[in-house]
Amino acid sequence: MESQPPQERSEQPTKEVPHVLVMKPPPLLTLFEDKFISTKFQLLKAWESTLPLDQFLTAYAGSVRAVLCSGASPITPHIIQLLPSLQLVVTASAGTNHIDLNECRRLGIAVTNAAGVFSDDAADAAVGLLIDVLRKISAAHRFVRHRLWPATGDYPLGSKLGGKRVGIVGLGSIGSAVAKRLEAFGCTVLYNSRKPKPWAPYPFYSNVHELAVDSDALVVCCGLTAETRHMINRQVMVALGKQGIIVNVARGAIIDEKQMVECLVHGEIGGAGLDVFENEPNVPKELLELDNVVLSPHRAVFTPEGFMAACDQVVANLEAFFEHKPLLSPLIDE
């Protein structure tokens, strides 16, 4: 072979380095592209082609064994069908609701997510939102900025954290990190999960309605599935009560947003701290007027360190796969 000047890997893919399909760039890839450079794989960037996706996949992705996806590029049965060699789905998020897990399971396609890397940050954010709502911190900031101090008298009282019963919905790695933090504030932790966790020293509730009856606040930390969609509905919120607070750092659709807005507007629950919404970036306009809610643009759980750790984990999973080594964070059927 005559000597050639070294080519950019993306310009002249060598046969030995397998492809990882990326249909749309996950936020992680956009932010940290250079972290995804590996000697074990190269990215096949579907979005850079002018071809419609289906055609691109048919033309170029026939031998692709791994795909890197995100919420913007869901793995549906249709997509899976266009990838006959697919063996691995890697998502850069903790959430997996954009992947048809049943279909993957049926076809023996492994799935890995960015489990664990966001847990501390998500827990920090969840507790931060809870403190903010209970102690009215963002509202206090507005009060000061609008020059209402001391013109309109004493600032209203918030509510103490210590002694509150906090119901954690989903006691996975994020939920248990939340629990650990809340204990330091003197909160009583309760939880609901698909099944009781043998290691958890907290009272278990088999359904979220009963959890709400006994709780002063609910912190939603579970994944979005067919079962959990709209699980937090009006009944649950009424059970939580007029002083009750909801914090959601998981997925907007776990809460029936329309019903939550009504409950908040009519004072049937006491307040909410929300990092996620059903139709981001759209937030129900009624919420924008309320003083007892804290709204976050799906950002609270993310930190640069968390993102970089997620990148590292994505790359590590892909490299392990191509080296025939065990995956680092495969989803396990519970």
């Binding site: 920090d124 403190i131 911190i137 963002s138 900031h141 009060f143 101090w149 918030g158 933090r181 609270a300």
Partner: protein, 329 residues
Amino acid sequence: MDSQPFLAKTFPPLLVLRSPSVPPFFFFKSQLQAHFHLLDPLDSSEPTHSFLSRHAPSVLALLCVGATPISSETLSLLPSLKLVVASSAGFDHIDLQECRRRGITVTTAGQAFSEDVADFAVGLLIDVLRRMSAGDRYVRSGSWVTKGEYPLGAKLSGKRIGIVGLGRIGSEVAKRLVAFGCSIAYCSRKEKPLVPYAYHSTVDELAKKSDALILCSSLTKETHHMIDHGVMEALGKEGVIVNVGRGGLVDEKELVKFLVQGQIGGAGLDVYEDEPLVPQELFAMENVVLAPHASVYTPESSTALQELVIGNLKAFFSNEPLLSAAQLE
């Protein structure tokens, strides 16, 4: 006009000193009237000086409402005074030296508030690091739709926290932040035995080794402007300051300069040098969270304060041990 019931005259007399500007949170009149005969100069048309002089012989105890100043001048009008009951977390507004000289006991209210103040301090820290109030503003203004993603905040877990003043409030803050995976160091007048956190003898040393400073100490001559240019430089460009102590702990002008020039990472402030004045340069800053001296504002703290104040007074009048006498050094 004495609006109390006849029987109240048999209650022990309690002089109440309060500035009109003190928030209502600190003055629970009806609860006090259930146990004491209140002598309140603000309820009298008589000038304060003569009111105090007239009642002085019977005044053994005085309730200092909130941050009402108690000067040596006031104390000199009360020769029979044996007890000053403070009702705020700090008591830098009371002439402690004069109290010590006269053998007047001062009781504190700090333990009534410690948990709520600590919760608030942690809330401010998370808010500043994660830009929660700023993110909330971003959403409410419609910017999430029109401008797209909001920038990432900073991680809390693993940060090195420097607690300035490891008293009751500082200890509660430390306990909470340990659960977030932070490492804790502190500075205090003296090293505390049996405390699992690293001690630094100066706040400069502490700042050098910290990512965030949480100010929990009382305001004294020594601690005034303790957080100065040097400390802020030592803390560094990513450093965060949370102040739930007293505004006077910080050289506020310097802090504003540092923040405006981006020489420090952010600040969460509940107290200011000249409340309720808040430096307006801070209003629009994304990395600053401002609260109106509200860190004690929960019904639970209010109840705890009432119980502590009334408990101390009842103990005093029954010759029983006081609940929260301050060690006046």
